[in-house]
């Protein structure tokens, strides 16, 4: 019996579709489910409109007009080649089409920009206004939004299908709540493992852990080695202005870090040698003059620190993007965003993006098109499932384990120290960017020990402990999958296997809670999934 159940006043809601997470994917999922006729509840840990990584950023969507068709063919062909064998063309066409048709429908709530030639630009939107518009749209469809209401665990029917979730109203005296639903969409985001990536503080991988507890598997979890530049000690991972940056070492020598695909890796190598400084003096004057109306949050950091970025040299760092600008997440089984668990759908960063991004980061464009499209797919399909259900009344079993219901005797867990140790395995360049088999084995051991402590002794008491369990689970899948991929491919870089291995031009699945597993995802029925490695 968890402590949460001891609260006398339980808020209980019955609905058709529950959306977990109110970022970009969750908001589009809620919209689509409601458009399909479903009664929808959306629960967000924070506030739908400011929560998540879209709200503080400026998403550009993958945007290719349908006419001429050759343009989309070329865009998809480029992306297939860049994805190094892990992307799928039909999925790419689908999200291009969905984004093209859906994004302009937000015009009632978002004032799309007009360029200097007077053309409306749909593809590039500003985060705070975009998420504010999505909230208004969601509310206009009669969706019930539960803000400041972290979901702690999923609830299953006796046949294993998902029939709701349970959480806590953290601005309402930690009052427990429970939503019974015909279907659930997890859109709880990815995780940066608590790096200072802008807007990612509440994205602790909760949706991955809950999906795994329900029996779903992950895919692409080795692709967590994405990093984004920011002024040191700041969260401002807005990279546009750095496309024109000039870099220096501590002695004032200019570093050779040209704008291009290798820039992050070269910057990381430079940061391993010592502090790196930067100036934005080469940014074209017309962009300097408009920086505050392109990205109003970027100049805040410089102004408040008294830095003139166009003249001064300021220290920079790289923040880990984890699965946010990386790739991995819950494996999607079909074009509807269904998981392997009946009644459970995934969208956005909560879902694996490999099918549209391949082995490289989707950057802003593919990732945003994915968040929108996968939200639409999952919301629509969840509404269909919920409507087709004959009877809802069923006993529901809570599925949460680690951080809620310990295997053994409850003990106090030092949550802050545990989180710091996850960070210490997932952020350093020598562990997560320039990987080695030996280094991954050492990380695995550390993470296994931490997991055992939380799973065996952590009892319900704080949201933070449950978040820590999710961080640990995600880190373990990432490290185990990275250890199994004995090659370098895209975002995954093994110093001991610097070349690509054609036999590994396939996706890797992972999962498991107390015992982590990794397996090849065979694209055809000709081969059974092979067990590559088992840890712990």
């Amino acid at each position: 019996m968890s402590k949460l159940a001891a609260f006398p006043e339980l808020l209980s809601i019955t609905t058709d579709v529950l959306i977990v997470g109110g970022g970009m994917a969750g908001a589009w999922a809620a919209t689509s489910a409601a458009q399909a006729g479903a009664k929808v509840v959306l629960a967000d840990k924070g506030y739908c409109g400011t929560s998540g990584v879209t709200a503080a950023a400026g998403p550009g969507h993958w945007w290719v007009p349908p006419d001429p068709a050759a343009a989309r063919d070329a865009a998809v062909a480029n992306r297939i080649a860049a994805g190094l064998g892990l992307g799928e063309a039909d999925w790419m066409y689908r999200i291009l089409d969905q984004t093209w048709r859906t994004l302009p429908t937000l015009a009632r709530y978002y004032k799309f920009g007009t360029d200097d030639e007077g053309r409306v630009n749909y593809r590039a939107v500003r985060g705070p206004e975009y998420m504010r518009a999505l909230r208004q749209q969601v509310l206009s469809y009669g969706v019930t939004i539960l803000d400041q209401s972290p979901v702690l665990e999923l609830l299953a029917r006796c046949d294993g299908s998902i029939g709701g979730a349970r959480g806590q109203r953290r601005q309402d005296g930690s009052r427990a709540y429970r939503v019974e639903a015909g279907a659930v969409v997890l859109a709880a985001g990815g995780t940066s493992f608590l790096s200072h990536l802008l807007g990612s503080r509440t994205n602790t991988g909760d949706g991955y852990l809950m999906a795994a507890e329900a029996g779903a598997e992950m895919s692409g979890m080795e692709f967590t080695a994405a990093y984004t530049i920011a002024p040191a000690h700041s969260t401002m991972t807005r990279s546009m202005a750095y496309a024109f940056a000039t870099y220096y070492d501590a002695d004032g020598g200019e570093l050779d870090l040209p704008f291009g695909p290798d820039q992050t890796v070269r910057l990381a190598r430079a940061l391993q040698r010592g502090p790196v400084y930067c100036t934005l003096q080469r940014l074209p004057d017309d962009v300097k003059a408009r920086l505050h109306t392109i990205s109003p949050n970027v100049p805040l950091v410089f102004d408040r620190w008294g830095i003139d970025p166009y003249r001064d040299r300021f220290e920079v760092t790289l923040h880990n993007d984890g699965t946010i600008r990386g790739i991995g997440g819950v494996r999607v089984h079909d074009v509807n965003g269904a998981t392997s668990v009946p009644g459970l759908f995934v969208a956005g960063d909560n879902a694996s993006r490999e099918k549209v991004a391949g082995a490289i980061s989707g950057g802003g464009n593919v990732n945003s098109a994915w968040a929108l499209s996968s939200g639409v797919f999952a919301g629509t399909a969840a509404a269909r499932v919920a409507r087709s259900m004959k009877s809802r009344s069923a006993e529901l079993t809570p599925l949460g384990r680690a951080g809620l219901r310990p295997h053994g005797r409850p003990q106090d867990i030092d949550v802050a120290a545990t989180r710091d140790r996850v960070r210490a395995e997932m952020h350093p360049f020598d562990k997560n960017l320039f990987r080695t088999g030996a280094g991954l084995a050492a990380s695995s051991q550390t993470l296994e020990d931490l997991w055992s402590e939380v799973a065996n002794h952590g009892q319900a008491g704080s949201i933070a402990l449950r978040e820590t369990a999710a961080l640990l689970a995600t880190a373990r899948w990432s490290v185990a999958t990275a250890a199994a991929r004995d090659e370098s491919r895209g975002l995954h870089r093994r110093e001991d296997y610097p070349a690509r291995d054609p036999r590994l031009a396939a996706r890797l699945l992972s999962g498991g809670l107390d015992q982590v597993w990794v397996a090849l995802d065979r694209p055809s029925a000709s081969a059974q999934p092979g067990q590559l490695e088992t840890t712990s």
Binding site: R201, H233, M240, D249, G260, I294, L300
Partner: protein, 128 residues
């Protein structure tokens, strides 16, 4: 992290408490919001954007607390800077949303880098 709410500007509308994604603030007994869990602040500046009274100051420092002088912040003119430059509320007609320019900046950077490569002799000279 959020370091200051200027008491004489705050209208106690509660917006900052409601919109904070990390649940950093609590309602105070005297009306003013209380910075209850600054260590959870993710330095996203959303509270500033939603504060129509321009009463909130978020320091850019995300991994260290800094001392902030109320007088200095008031004198700096930076309260409300984010909301103003975003063209929210009364600033809608003054600051256009030019987010659409972002991709042209990246494209120009790519072209400049390609040109620089073409012009540069083999080898990296004194650079490292």
């Amino acid at each position: 992290m959020i370091e200051l709410i200027v008491a004489e500007r705050c209208t106690d509308c509660g917006a900052c408490i409601e919109v904070c994604p990390a649940n950093v603030l609590d309602p105070g007994t005297d009306g003013l919001p209380v910075l209850a869990r600054v260590e959870d602040c993710q330095t996203c500046f959303m509270c500033e954007l939603y504060c129509r009274a321009d009463a909130i100051y978020v320091a850019p420092d995300c991994d260290r607390r800094v001392s902030v002088s109320r007088e200095d912040v008031l004198a700096s003119g930076r309260l409300g800077q984010y909301r103003r430059h975003s063209g929210w509320d009364e600033w809608a007609e003054h600051f256009p949303n030019e987010q659409w320019l972002m991709e042209t900046v990246f494209r120009r950077a790519g072209e400049a880098a390609a040109q620089s490569r073409a012009e540069r002799p083999e080898g990296l000279g004194g650079k490292k």
